[in-house]
Amino acid sequence: MATDIQTKNAGKRAATTKLITTAVGSYAKPDYLTKARAEFSQGKISLEDLRELEKKATQYWIEVQERVGLDVLVHGEMERGDMVAYFSGEQGGNAIKGMRLGGLVRSYGNRYYHKPIIGGKLEWPGPMTVEMWEYAQTLTDRPVKGMLTGAYTMVEWSFDEHYPSRRDAVMDMAKVIRREVEELVKAGAYYIQIDEPAIHTRPEDDFQLAIEAMHATVDGIDAEFHTHICYGEVEKVYTEMIKLPVKQIHLAFKNTDFAYLDLIDQYGYPEDKDLGVGVTDIHTRFIEELDDVKDGLRRTLKRLPPERLWILPDCGLKTRTVEESEQKLKVMVDAVRDIKAEMGIA
C-alpha cells in the first residue's frame, strides 16, 4: 500500500512519563445533544446544526478532562452512537463504502442498535474521524487520542452479505482502518487507539485473524497504538492477546477486582508493552473510594513499574451521567497524584 507518512511522527506527547492518566473513549451526551440527535434523525434539524452541538459538547468534555487533570485526553465521541454503526453511516457519519446501516437488533435487556450490513467490497470513503479529532486537538495543549474501531470488531458486529469468508471481510476492513490511521497521523495524532472489544468472541477459531488484522492496520506507521479490550473471557485469550502489535493494551481491571493481575503473575506481560489499567468500574453508579483506587494502583505497581502503566476507567463512560463521569475521573487522578507523592515521582 502506498503511504507517504513513514516520516517521524511529530504529534503531541504526554507531559509525564509515569502513571499517565487518560480515558477510554466515550462520554455521556448532554441532554441537548441527545435531543438534537433525535431531531436530526427525524429530519427536523440539519447536519450542520447537529455538528455544531456535537462540537459544543466536545468542548465541554475537553474542559472537564483538563479541569480534572488527565494527561492524555479523548474527544468523547459526541458524534458517535455506536462504535461500529458510526462507520456505516449512523447520524450523518461518513459510511465506509460497501457498508450500510441495518435495522434494529436487540443486544440485551431493552437495548437495541442498528446493526450494520456489509453488502459490497469495503473501501475507505475519505476521512471519517479526522475533522472531530482536529477540532478537539485545537481546544487543548494536551494530546488527544485518535479513536478507531478495529477491523475484527467492525466485521464481527456487522452482518456480512458479501464476503465468502470472515477472513476476507476482516482483511479488507483492515485496509480501510489503516487508511484512516494514516489520515489521523497526517493530521498530527500521535496516540491512536484501536478498540477490539469483540476480539474474544471466537478465540478457538480465529484469534490469529484478529492479530493478523491488527498487523495489517498498524505495521510500519509511526504512531503509538493502544487497544482496549472489554470484559469477556480475557483469561482464555491472554497469552495470544499480549501478542497484539500495539504499544498498550488496556483492560477492565476494576470490574474483576484486579483478577487480571494473576494472569500477569502466571504468564508475564511483554517487556515492550505498556499496560492500561482500568481502576474505576464504569458499570456502577457509586464513586469508588480514594483508598480503594489507590489500593488497586499499589497492587499493580508490584508487577510493573510506573513508566509502563497508564491509568484509566474500565471502559467508555457513556452509560454514566455527566456528574458520575467527572467524579470517577477525579478520584482516579487524585489517587494517581497521591501514589506519585508516596513514590516521590513527578
Binding site: 441495518g102 435495522g103 434494529l104 437488533v105 436487540r106 443486544s107 440485551y108 435487556g109 431493552n110 437495541y112 446493526k115 450490513i117 464481527e156 458486529w157 452482518f159 456480512d160 452479505e161 469483540a198 468472541t201 471466537r202 469477556g232 458499570h283
Partner: protein, 325 residues
C-alpha cells in the same frame, strides 16, 4: 412436511412503526406504568408475533419468547437456589445474557411456562410449541457455587424443568421443545448432556418432545443424540455445515428440524435455494420426518428480515414438495 420456528422472534419492528414493547419497558422503568400494564403489552405483542408467523405460513409456531430477556434467565429467575448475575456474551454472538449463579439447591415452586403457552395457544390458529431452556446449556452458562460438577448441575436443572414439562402436558401442550445448543461446543460432555435430557423427557406421554441445537454441528455425537427420549432433533445447517456429514450414514429414526435458513444473517435465501436444500436433506431423512425451520431463533435479525426469511423458507418448502424427488 411441516414448517416451524426454533424459538424467539424480534420484539419490535423498525421505525417508523412504534416500538411498543421497548417503549413499554422504558415507561415501566421510569415508573409511568405498572408491571401489570407491561405484561398486558407483552401479551398484545405476543399475539402480534404469533400472527406474523401464521401469516408467513408457519405450521407450528412459538410465542416468540417476547417476555424472555435472554435464552437463559426466564425460568431460572423463578427457581430457588439461583441468583441472577452480570452480563455475559451469549456464545459467539453480540448479544448478552445475565449469568445465573447457583448458590444453593435448585427448587421449583410453580409453573412458569404453562400460563404463557395457554395464552399463546388461545390466540393462535396453529399449534403452539412450548420452548424450554435446555438443562445442559443452563448448567454450562451458569456459575456453579453449589453442585460442584456440570452433570450434577445439569441434572438439578432438568429436575426443576421436568415440573415445567409435566405442567405443560397437563395444560394440553402437544409440542414441547428444549433448546440446548451448548452441547455443540462441548461435545466431550455428551454423557452429562444425555443424562440431563433423559431426566427432562423420559416417560413423557401425550406430547411430542424436541431437542434443538444451533451455532455448530453434532458430528461425532449424533448416535448418542439419537438414543435420547425425544421425537424431534433440530440441527443448524447454516453455522454447522458438519451436520451434513453427521447425517450421512446415520440411521435417523427421529423427525429432523432442518435449520437451513440462516437466522443470524440478513442475507436473504431464495425459495429455490431452500427447495434445493430440502431435496438434498430428503435424500437422508424421508420427507414425512422432516420439519423445516430457521437455523436458530430470529432475534439476531431485524423484525422485517425475520418475517421475510420465514416467508421465503415456507415458499421453498412448498416448492420442494411440489417437485417429485
Amino acid at each position: 412436511m411441516q414448517t416451524t420456528v426454533v424459538g424467539h422472534y424480534p420484539k419490535i419492528p423498525n421505525r417508523p412503526a412504534p416500538a411498543r414493547y421497548r417503549n413499554a419497558i422504558n415507561k415501566r422503568d421510569r415508573g409511568d406504568i405498572s408491571n401489570e400494564e407491561l405484561a398486558q403489552v407483552a401479551d398484545e405483542v405476543t399475539i402480534e408475533v404469533i400472527q406474523q408467523q401464521v401469516d408467513a405460513g408457519i405450521d407450528i409456531v412459538s410465542d416468540g419468547q417476547i417476555r424472555w430477556d435472554d435464552d437463559q434467565t426466564y425460568v431460572p429467575r423463578r427457581l430457588g437456589g439461583i441468583q441472577i448475575g452480570g452480563l455475559q456474551r451469549y456464545m459467539d454472538t453480540n448479544t448478552y445474557y445475565r449469568e445465573p449463579e447457583v448458590t444453593g439447591e435448585i427448587t421449583w415452586a410453580e409453573p412458569v411456562l404453562a400460563r404463557d403457552w395457554e395464552f399463546a395457544q388461545k390466540n393462535s390458529t396453529r399449534p403452539v410449541k412450548a420452548i424450554l431452556p435446555g438443562p445442559f446449556t443452563l448448567a454450562a452458562l451458569s456459575v456453579d457455587k453449589h453442585y460442584g460438577s456440570l452433570e450434577k448441575l445439569a441434572l438439578a436443572y432438568a429436575d426443576a424443568l421436568r415440573n415445567e414439562v409435566d405442567a405443560l402436558v397437563a395444560a394440553g401442550c402437544k409440542h414441547i421443545q428444549a433448546n440446548d445448543p451448548a452441547i455443540v461446543k462441548r461435545k466431550g460432555d455428551v454423557a452429562a448432556f444425555s443424562a440431563a435430557i433423559t431426566r427432562l423427557f423420559d416417560g413423557v406421554s401425550g406430547a411430542e418432545t424436541g431437542l434443538y441445537t444451533w451455532f455448530g454441528d453434532v458430528n461425532g455425537i449424533l448416535p448418542q443424540l439419537l438414543d435420547l427420549p425425544v421425537d424431534v432433533i433440530g440441527l443448524d445447517f447454516a453455522a454447522g455445515k458438519g451436520n451434513w456429514d453427521a447425517l450421512k450414514g446415520a440411521s435417523f429414526g427421529k423427525t429432523l428440524g432442518f435449520g437451513f435458513v440462516d437466522g443470524r444473517n440478513v442475507r436473504m435465501e431464495t425459495p429455490g435455494e431452500v427447495a434445493d436444500a430440502v431435496k438434498r436433506i430428503a435424500a437422508l431423512v424421508p420427507e414425512d420426518r422432516l420439519r423445516v425451520n430457521p437455523s436458530c431463533g430470529l432475534e439476531y435479525v431485524p423484525r422485517e428480515t425475520a418475517f421475510e426469511k420465514l416467508k421465503i423458507m415456507v415458499q421453498g418448502a412448498r416448492k420442494a414438495e411440489g417437485v417429485p424427488a
